[in-house]
C-alpha cells in the first residue's frame, strides 16, 4: 500500500522526533527499543517529555544524557536489580538539573494510552482509593457513576505522545507489525500517538503477515516509518530471537551510580559510535549465549474461501 516507509534509524529519528516532543518508547521488559533511545541521545534531542510505564535502563541512559525535561511513568527502577540512579539524581538533588515528573500506577498509565488510542477524553478505573497518588497528581480525578450504584471511580486523561516508538519481531514495509510474547501496551501506545516508528527484527513480505492476520498488533496506517534493525532491543529482548541480557542490567547499577562512569559509558557506547551496527560489532560475541533454543508455535488453518 502506498510508498514504502522503510528508513534507517538515523533518518527516522531525525525526521520524526523533535525537540520538545512527548516521546514514548514502550515495551514492558520485552521489545524495549534501546537502539532508538541511543539514536535520540546521539542526535542530542532536548526538552523531551519521556513517557513509559517502566522507564527502565533506556530512560536512565536518555535522562542521564540530558534529552528530557519531564518524565511520565508508573514504575521507576531497574527491574529485578535496583535503581535508575541518573533519574534519581535529577529527582532527589536536581543534579545536574531538575526533572519534572508525573506519576500514575501501571493501570493508570495503560488506561491513559487506551484513552489516547480511542479518542476518549477520560478513562475510568477502580484504583487510587485511599492512596496518596492523586494528591500529588491532579490529573487523577474522582468521578461518580451516573447509575444507581453511584460507585466512585477515578479517571485519568488520554496520553497522546507526539511520537511512539515500538519494536516488533517482524513488520512489512508499510508498517504492519506482528508481535508475540509480552504485548505490554505497545498497541495502545502506537494508536495513541501522532507519529509512529516501528522498528523490527525482520522486514517481511506482506504475504507473511497476511498468512496470520490475527497476529498483527499494529496496522501500517498508523505507522510513519519502519526501521529494520536486528538486536535493536539489547539489553532488553525479543521473544524467540534473543534473551534478555540480565548481566547488562546488573552491571548498569554500577555505571548509573557514578555520573563519570555514566558519561564514559555514553561516550563509548553511543556518542562515539555511528549506529547500532557499530554497537553490535562492539558487543562482539555477547549474543551467542543470548540465543534461545527453538520452541515453535505450531500453525493453524485459516482456510481458503474462494
Amino acid at each position: 500500500m502506498g510508498e514504502s516507509k522503510v528508513a534507517a534509524m538515523r533518518d527516522a529519528v531525525a525526521g520524526l522526533v523533535r525537540d520538545g516532543d512527548t516521546v514514548a518508547i514502550e515495551g514492558f521488559t520485552h521489545l524495549i527499543c534501546f537502539a532508538a533511545g541511543h539514536e535520540i541521545i546521539r542526535q542530542r534531542r532536548r526538552d523531551l517529555t519521556l513517557a513509559r510505564m517502566t522507564p527502565d535502563v533506556i530512560y536512565d541512559q536518555m535522562i542521564g544524557a540530558g534529552v528530557a525535561r519531564k518524565l511520565i511513568f508508573s514504575w521507576l527502577g531497574n527491574p529485578g536489580v535496583g535503581s535508575l540512579h541518573a533519574v534519581r539524581r535529577r529527582i532527589e538533588q536536581a543534579d545536574p538539573e531538575p526533572l519534572e515528573i508525573e506519576e500514575y500506577s501501571h493501570f493508570g498509565m495503560v488506561c491513559r494510552y487506551v484513552a489516547g488510542a480511542s479518542n476518549l477524553p477520560f478513562f475510568p478505573i477502580r484504583s487510587y482509593y485511599e492512596s496518596d497518588i492523586p494528591s500529588v497528581n491532579p490529573n487523577i480525578k474522582p468521578m461518580r457513576s451516573p447509575y444507581e450504584d453511584g460507585t466512585e471511580v477515578y479517571v485519568v486523561p488520554p496520553l497522546r505522545p507526539d511520537v511512539t516508538i515500538v519494536h516488533a519481531q517482524r513488520a512489512t514495509a508499510d508498517g504492519d507489525a506482528q508481535i508475540w510474547g509480552l504485548l505490554g501496551c505497545q498497541k495502545e501506545a502506537a494508536f495513541a500517538a501522532e507519529r509512529v516508528i516501528v522498528v523490527c527484527e525482520e522486514l517481511v513480505e506482506e504475504s507473511v503477515v497476511r498468512q496470520d492476520p490475527n497476529r498483527t498488533v499494529i496496522p501500517g496506517i498508523v505507522v510513519d516509518a519502519v526501521v529494520e534493525q536486528p538486536f535493536a532491543c539489547h539489553p532488553s529482548y525479543a521473544q524467540g530471537y534473543y534473551d534478555r541480557d540480565n548481566g547488562f542490567y546488573l552491571e548498569w547499577e554500577q555505571v548509573s551510580k557514578d555520573p563519570a562512569m555514566l558519561e564514559a559509558w555514553l561516550r563509548e557506547w553511543v556518542y562515539d559510535l555511528e549506529s547500532h551496527a557499530d554497537y553490535l560489532e562492539k558487543l562482539g560475541d555477547r549474543f551467542e549465549h543470548l540465543k534461545p533454543g527453538e520452541r515453535w508455535s505450531g500453525q493453524v488453518n485459516y482456510g481458503e474461501y474462494a
Binding site: M1, G2, V114, A117, S118, N119, L120, D176, K187, E188, F191, E206, V209, R210, P213, N214, T216, P219, G220, I221, V222, Y302, G303, E304, Y305, A306
Partner: protein
Amino acid sequence: MNMNGYSKNEMMISASSRTLAGERVCFVGVGLPNIVCNLAQRTVAPDLQLVYEAGVFGARPARLPLSIGDPTLVSGSTAVTSMFELFAFYLQAGLIDAAFLGGAQIDRFGNLNTTVIGDYASPKVRLPGSGGACEIAIHARKILVIMRQAQRSFVEELHFRTSPGHSGDPEHDRARGWSGSGPTSVVTDLGTYGFDEETGEMTLLTLHPDVTLDQVRENMGWEPKVSPDLGETPPPTAEELRLIREELDPQGVASS
C-alpha cells in the same frame, strides 16, 4: 438491464465507486457497498484499504461475501482485531476516511433511519437498528450513501433518527468537533447528490442517463435542491461493467 445495456444497480455501483477516488481507508458494508469498494480499489482508488466492522483490516475477499463477517474477508487480510479495538482505535479515533451508510429513510440533511417505521413502541415495521451506523456517521470523515429513491424513503420527517447527518445549521455542525464531516454524497437509482456547503442540504448534482428531473421529484418527499450546473452522470464504462460482471459479482447477486 435497461436499453443502455447496464442495470440500475450497475449505474449506482459505478457512480458510487467514483466518489471514493483517492480515498485511503474505507469502512465497507455488505451488498452494493462491498462491490463499490472492490470496484474503486481496481479503478479510482488503488490504495484503498477495506475495513469491515466485523474486525478485519486490509481485507482481500476472494469472493463476494454475503455477510459482513464472511470467512473470505479474514483469510489473507492484513489484520484481525477485536470489535472493541476496531470501533475504539480505528473508528472513534478517526482513522476511517469513508464509510457507506443506507437506510429505510433519509431526510434532506442526510439523517438516517434504520430503526423503525411508525412509532418506536409499537412499530409498523421493525428495522435492524443502528448496528455500527450511529458511530460511523459521527466518526467516518466522509459518509457516502447508496439508496434507491422513493417517496417513502426520501422523507420530509424521519420516523426515528438512528444516525445523525447535517443539522441544517453549518455553524452548529462545525462546532460539533466530530472527526466526521457527515454525509458528502448520495447516489440513488436516479442521480447523484452532494450537500450544500452553506445549508448542509442534499443537492442534486447529476441525473443518470435518461432520467428526468420530474422522476426525481416524484420520488422524493420534498422539493429537491438542484445544482445550478446540473449534469448527467457518466454511465458505467465497459471496463467497470466487465469488472462488476466477471470479477466482483459473477452471479449477479447484487448487480441485477
